[in-house]
Symmetry: C2
Subunit: 118 residues, 2 copies
């Protein structure tokens, strides 16, 4: 598995549970126990996911022994946004072409209606 920072971030995001953990943390820091509640998962399974997120720099854990709150770290997500942004022109082009096609269909339908009314 590639270990450059962007690859590590993408690999960490390639799991719906880990993305749900980030979504929960975007609403505020929390303990691991609280974090685990909505998921039907064992604590070791949750801990494994947290380790992947921590290694990718997407979360940070408090240092207090009993209360080790998890916090979102958005830096790597900014890098994902920076990477994906460069492709924006491609999906916008595609939407433009789809828009042109729909307009063409409408014009064609309209002229069909006009000719049937004659």
């Amino acid at each position: 598995m590639a270990n450059d920072p962007l690859s590590v971030t993408f690999a960490a995001l390639a799991d719906p549970t880990r993305r749900a953990i980030l979504a929960r943390l975007s609403r505020g820091e929390t303990t691991v126990t609280e974090l685990a509640e909505p998921f039907d998962m064992s604590m070791p399974a949750i801990s494994k996911h947290l380790k992947v997120l921590e290694r990718a720099g997407l979360i940070e854990r408090g240092r207090e022994a009993q209360w080790r709150p998890c916090r979102l770290q958005a830096g790597p997500l900014r890098d994902v946004e920076g990477w994906v942004e460069q492709y924006r022109i491609h999906w916008e082009e595609r939407l433009d072409r789809l828009g042109d096609y729909l307009r063409e269909l409408q014009t064609r339908e309209k002229s069909d209606d006009d000719s049937s009314e004659q």
Copy 2:
């Protein structure tokens, strides 16, 4: 490995060679042979990467037997952008806090300079 569309996309992006292939294809469609040239990789290795990208819907292959050009498909990248956008507030907040801190440092330095000038 998770097989929901967003997870499949993120997993496909978690490799620098596959991201380099997309960068190449963003400049226009090309054959697999041309695509393989800049990479010091065997054709089977490149083909494996292309299969991962194709499964994620990030590329499309032409149907012509001899000339099967690869084309970028940006739809899944738009979904990545949509997902990551919701975290923008978090990295912007962080940059705002960093900005506040730098301004505070500058003000402090300035007042230090002012008092040493007296």
